[in-house]
Amino acid sequence: MSFLDVLYFIIPSAIYYAAPLIMTAIGGVFTERSGVVNIGLEGVMIIGAFSSIVFNLKYAATLGGWTPWVGLLVALAVGAVFSLILAVAAVSFRADQTVAGVALNLLGLAVAVFSIKMIYDKGQTDSISERFSRFDIPVLKDIPLLGKMFFTDVYGTSIFAIVVAFIAWFIIYKTPFGLRLRSVGEHPMAADTMGVNVTKMRYIAVMISGALGGIGGAIYAQAIAGNFSATTISGQGFMALAAMIFGKWHPLGALGAALFFGLAQSLSIAGASIPYVKDVPQVILLILPYVLTILALAGFIGKAKAPKASGTPYIKGKR
């Protein structure tokens, strides 16, 4: 394989693996920017993957090619509702946010597998018939070099994820809502004094992350896995969390980090057929995202700093 062939092969594959991570990491950016730590992204993704697969299996015959896209909407709604559990615990009940997130992860997996066993009487669903499909983008695909790299055999979900990242950047940095969101995450008391409803902002942020995390899980399930079992989502939520931190709590940073982690993931899966990469032990590629995140946190790759109030419940009147 020539170097160019490798690029043609690996770049689409990296974007393909990155799409669910981008979605979920952007969701993480919203919550953390509002001052709520969301360790429960993994659980949210599981619920999203589960609900989209169940929907897909049930309605594929009636909806045809649109099924996976409607499945995303279903996952969006289910994810947002599911994340309310975290919002209630972390914002209203002043629970330790990390512990509540851990509970969310356990609950997501348990509820999903329990329901699968109830509905299908077995631990794993059948494969879905209507998956996300690839297509070539007209005109753009004819650009030399880049066309073959970025615009042939693309998944709609990948484009969708990248667009969402830019929209998130616009919302967080260019709108009044985004300014309030960030102020609530940095200094909730000051925001409260200025008339921003801290509780409301945090509820909205957690639900946005639930919606995006749900979509992330649904993309993974309907584009990559093709079915649902207890191990369909195994660590993608935490990898999205890592991408959010590696991207320094910034939507476009998270986008870049998620693309990079997608590359590491696709290399670890397809690396055996690529020259040079096949000499690298697979384990190195598998642990790379996590090692890089630790290094980023430690300040070796630019200092990553969390929003100031992230992780602390806001108690009115407390200094």
């Binding site: 730590v37 360790i39 559990i85 615990a89 209203s92 009940f93 002043r94 629970a95 330790d96 990390t98 512990v99 509540a100 851990v102 509970a103 969310l104 992860n105 356990l106 609950l107 997996l109 348990a110 509820v111 597998v113 329990f114 066993k117 109830m118 207890a230 191990t231 195994s234 660590g235 935490f238 990898m239 969390l241 890592a242 931190i245 032990p281 697979q282 384990v283 598998l286 642990i287 996590y290 090692v291 995140t293 630790i294 946190l297 430690a298 300040g299 969390a306």
Partner: protein, 349 residues
């Protein structure tokens, strides 16, 4: 109501609420919750085999709970127990199978290797926290995944591409033919005695030593401790290392007792995450952790009987456990509720 009573009531109410919602879930799914909980009860106490298996299940939970609780007492949140447990398990299985030594040396050596591996895995987040103020929660989560992948790669290398390591030698084994015959050939092993000793050790360190006092003090207020002349970073690292050692020993229970080797894993064991629940329920007290481990070990092992006897998927137990964690974490609202209740009573009089 006195503070002490409230502190005991909050976990109890959480457990009851968890079980009630579990029952509601069973009702909605078309099962009889009474049958379900009877099956759970029988899964714990129904036969000597089940009782032996339950105690075996409790053993690693005690270690995982102690690990989380010990870090909590120093103001640290160790979510990395899962990873520390895996590397401890791997180290124990390796030392158990690679060397041939007399039992009196081999078994302690294998346990020590597990504790050291867990301690090393926790040392990294401890060091980063102490020296660079990096939040330990994220680092320990990342370390979990690194542990999982590194362990799988090591198992592969040790077994020439196989899926599991060789069985450990008898000289490193915690298995006990006596307990096995006593409990109808369950996998009950000597580990539970080591777990009880570990509970005492944690109590002793925290309550009876100067070092333990320093650790708790750093957990309460870092600045005050620093002004009092304590070395805060040293205490943070030490707390993580001790916590990791407990977690590593938990892995040794699986490696030297239950399984006698280590198999490649597609996902986490879950013991480390359940350890968070155990520690919270036990209010981070050593003896509380023991009680928490007994409850969750009982639930986990008893739950295995629910599909057979009542036809209910075993995940219902995980739902109940997650709910209990949720309610314990939301203790604030339960306290408010209790407060209102006791005030009403007073007014009534």
């Amino acid at each position: 109501m006195s503070k002490r009573v409230v502190n005991i009531l909050v976990p109890l109410i959480s457990i009851v609420l968890g079980l009630i919602i579990g029952a509601i879930v069973m009702l909605i799914s078309g099962f009889n919750p009474v049958d379900g909980y009877i099956a759970l009860w029988n899964g714990v106490f129904g036969s000597s085999y089940n009782m032996g298996e339950t105690v075996r299940q409790i053993t690693p939970y005690v270690f995982a709970g102690l690990a989380v609780a010990f870090a909590f007492r120093t103001g640290l949140f160790n979510i990395g127990v899962e990873g520390q447990l895996i590397v401890g398990w791997l180290a124990a299985a390796y030392v158990g199978s690679a060397f041939e030594l007399p039992k009196i040396i081999h078994l302690p050596l294998a346990l020590l290797a597990a504790a050291a591996a867990g301690a090393l895995w926790a040392f990294i987040p401890g060091l980063l926290k102490a020296k660079l103020q990096v939040h330990e929660v994220i680092v320990t989560i990342m370390m979990n995944y690194i542990a999982l992948h590194v362990a799988n790669a090591t198992i592969s290398a040790l077994s020439d591409g196989g899926d599991k390591t060789e069985k450990i030698h008898d000289s490193a084994s915690l298995r006990s033919p006596f307990f096995e015959s006593l409990t109808d050939y369950s996998r009950l092993h000597w580990g539970f005695l080591i777990a009880l000793i570990a509970v005492l050790i944690m109590w002793f360190i925290l309550e009876k030593t100067t070092q333990g006092y320093e650790l708790k003090s750093v957990g309460f207020n870092q600045n005050a401790s620093e002004y009092a002349g304590m070395n805060v970073s040293k205490n943070i690292i030490l707390a993580m290392v001790i916590s990791g050692a407990f977690a590593g020993l938990g892995g040794a229970m699986e490696g030297l007792g239950t399984f006698g080797n280590i198999t490649k894993m597609t996902g986490f064991t879950g013991i480390g995450f359940d350890g968070i629940a155990v520690a919270l329920l036990g209010a981070n007290q050593p003896f509380g952790v023991l009680l928490g481990a007994i409850l969750f070990g009982g639930l986990k092992n008893g739950g295995l009987n629910m599909p057979n006897e009542a036809g209910i998927p075993v995940e219902i137990v995980s739902i109940v456990i997650a709910l209990i964690i949720f309610f314990v974490a939301s203790g604030y609202i339960i306290r408010v509720g209790l407060d209102r209740l006791s005030k009403k009573k007073k007014e009534g009089k």
